[in-house]
């Protein structure tokens, strides 16, 4: 098969085109919330929230409710619960996150293991199945991306101030706690909607890796989001082709690609700063 065919043949399949669009949208959404997650040092929360969605998904599946709704309720509840308990208990947030994350996931596994019949659908939420994405899922992803862009447009300067300096912003009267809760909700919703594409286990990488890579490269928050989105979309598209041609899991292919990009950029920045340091030393 020549290289052009390799690119074009999959596009003949509707499911592949849907998967491409879905992965690209997931890439953009995760890049936006991921930039806040990385700058606020909340990567662990992303992991917790994605696992916490699991019991909600299983329960929704059992009672025949919309699966995204079940996941969203569990994820948002856990995200806000982490914030509320941290503020009241005096314990560090990473301990609270560890407790709730494990507890919620165990609840999901317990209910999951009690289901006697075949539950292949639910396995997709653990590891992702972007090739099985429906038109309805695509619509939800599109609305999510537009919703995120709208929030950024309306609340950019407030989010920037409270993310950078919560103390200064709080003293100046900004509703820092409500902005924090809004971010937690956006993270939870993004994770739940992205779960079908990349799965619970890998969604945190989609959120953290492109944003962390972008922070190595640029010096402005807006540029960081744009570069993270570019990395997220490129990795999603290329990863999907790799997954198709090598017949490996799509979520894993995308995340491996993002990890590879991160390592390359990291090596590049380390070498660059060495060269600068050497030049600086030579001048002296």
């Amino acid at each position: 098969m020549n290289p052009l065919d390799l690119l074009l043949t999959p596009l003949g399949y509707d499911f592949f085109v849907r998967a491409l669009i879905a992965s690209a949208l997931v890439g953009v959404a995760c890049a936006i919330v991921g930039s806040f997650v990385v700058l606020k040092g909340m990567s662990f929360i992303g992991d917790a929230v994605s696992h916490a969605a699991f019991p909600g998904i299983v329960i929704a599946y059992l009672i025949g409710a919309p699966i995204i709704l079940g996941g969203a309720i569990a994820a948002i509840g856990t995200a806000l619960g982490i914030g509320a308990i941290t503020r009241r208990s005096g314990l560090r947030s990473d301990a609270i996150i560890g407790v709730l994350f494990a507890g919620m996931f165990a609840l999901g596994v317990a209910i999951f293991s009690s289901i006697p019949n075949y539950v292949g659908d639910l396995f997709h939420f653990l590891f992702g199945d972007v090739l099985g994405i429906s038109v309805g899922d695509l619509l939800a992803l599109t609305l999510l991306v537009f919703g995120l862009l709208l929030v950024l447009r309306l609340l950019w300067k407030e989010l920037l101030f409270s993310t950078f300096d919560p103390l200064g912003a709080g003293a100046a009267g900004l509703p820092v706690r409500r902005l924090d809760d809004l971010l937690l909700i956006l993270i939870a919703v993004t994770i739940v909607i992205s779960l079908q594409a990349v799965g619970i286990v890998l969604v945190v990488a989609m959120i953290t890796t492109p944003a962390a890579t972008a922070q190595l490269l640029v010096k402005r928050f807006t540029a960081m989001i744009q570069v993270a989105a570019l990395i997220g979309v490129s990795a999603a598209v290329i990863g999907l082709y790799v997954s198709y041609s090598l017949d490996i899991a799509s979520g894993a292919a995308i995340v491996l690609l993002e990890t590879l990009i991160f390592l390359l950029v990291l090596a590049f920045t380390l070498i660059r700063s060495r060269i600068y340091a050497a030049r600086g030393a030579a001048k002296i």
Partner: protein
């Protein structure tokens, strides 16, 4: 705002972290146009006191009034500058963007910065001698420049009250001089300035009033009137070593265990 009113009024305020009170029964009145240094040992409650005034900490008991109302009501007329260590300096934001944050609260959620806001940012940067660094990423700044950016952010907000946590700690003498000249000028035009400091010499020489704080208010008043050996001994306790010549030397390393006691979130 009439002049006889207190800008800041604390009555019997007790506050702390967990089950440890950092300040107990603190009562304090600060008038408009005052320039006050809060000094005392590590863990003496300097930052806690400032955070109670800024509305960042809820006192366990007692009341705090700012500009004649409960804390928070007049938040937009207050500028708070946190300790430099409390900010992530690798954050991807430029000097100009940080100073523009000072304008954010007054603009409101749907407001966009206009010509007046950009002019205020430029003026504030000029006052701290950093007009040419507006596009720099903050991580590329020196320690003194970082303090000046945050002071510029406060100036850009045009507040009636400045609350500064350690604004001159660890900066070079030139920068300290610059910062103090600006704070002095702001107080002279009726703004209320409150700063915590480890630097007793700076507190005594450059501020009009000092508050000696060791969990409670040991003394409050003009530096030359209240700063004597007995006040210093009560404030610093065993950290103060009398010298043979009649002077005292202070054993209070600002870097030692500082974060553990006062850098608390």
């Amino acid at each position: 705002m009439s002049d006889h009113l207190n800008a800041i009024e604390l009555v019997d305020v007790t506050a702390g972290y967990g089950d440890r009170a950092a300040i107990s029964s603190v009562s304090l009145n600060l008038v408009p146009g005052s320039l006050t240094a809060i000094f005392g040992p590590n863990g003496g409650g300097k930052s806690t006191l400032l955070k109670c005034i800024a509305g960042l900490m809820q006192p366990w008991s007692g009341s705090v009034q700012v500009l004649g109302a409960a804390v928070g009501v007049n938040a937009k007329r207050v500028a708070y500058v946190p300790q430099a260590e409390q900010v992530d300096w690798s954050f991807p934001v430029s000097v100009g963007e940080v100073v523009m944050m000072g304008r954010t609260p007054a603009l409101g959620p749907l407001g966009r910065p206009g010509a007046a806001d950009h002019a205020a940012v430029a003026d504030a940067l000029a006052r701290v001698d950093m007009a040419d660094l507006a596009r720099r990423q903050i991580g590329e700044l020196s320690g003194g420049q970082r303090r000046r950016v945050f002071l510029a952010r406060a100036i850009a907000a045009d507040p009636e009250i400045y609350l500064l946590d350690e604004p001159v700690t660890g900066v070079d003498p030139t920068t300290q001089e610059k910062i103090m000249n600006i704070l002095d000028a702001e107080a002279a035009r009726g703004r209320t300035v409150v700063a915590t400091t480890h630097d007793l010499a700076c507190a005594a020489q450059r501020f009009h009033d000092v508050v000696a704080l060791a969990g409670r208010v040991v003394a409050h008043g003009p530096a030359q009137l209240v700063l004597d050996q007995s006040v210093l001994e009560k404030t610093y306790g065993g950290h103060l070593v009398p010298l043979a010549g009649g002077g005292v030397v202070l054993l209070d390393d600002p870097h030692h265990s500082h974060g553990a006691h006062e850098g608390h979130e």
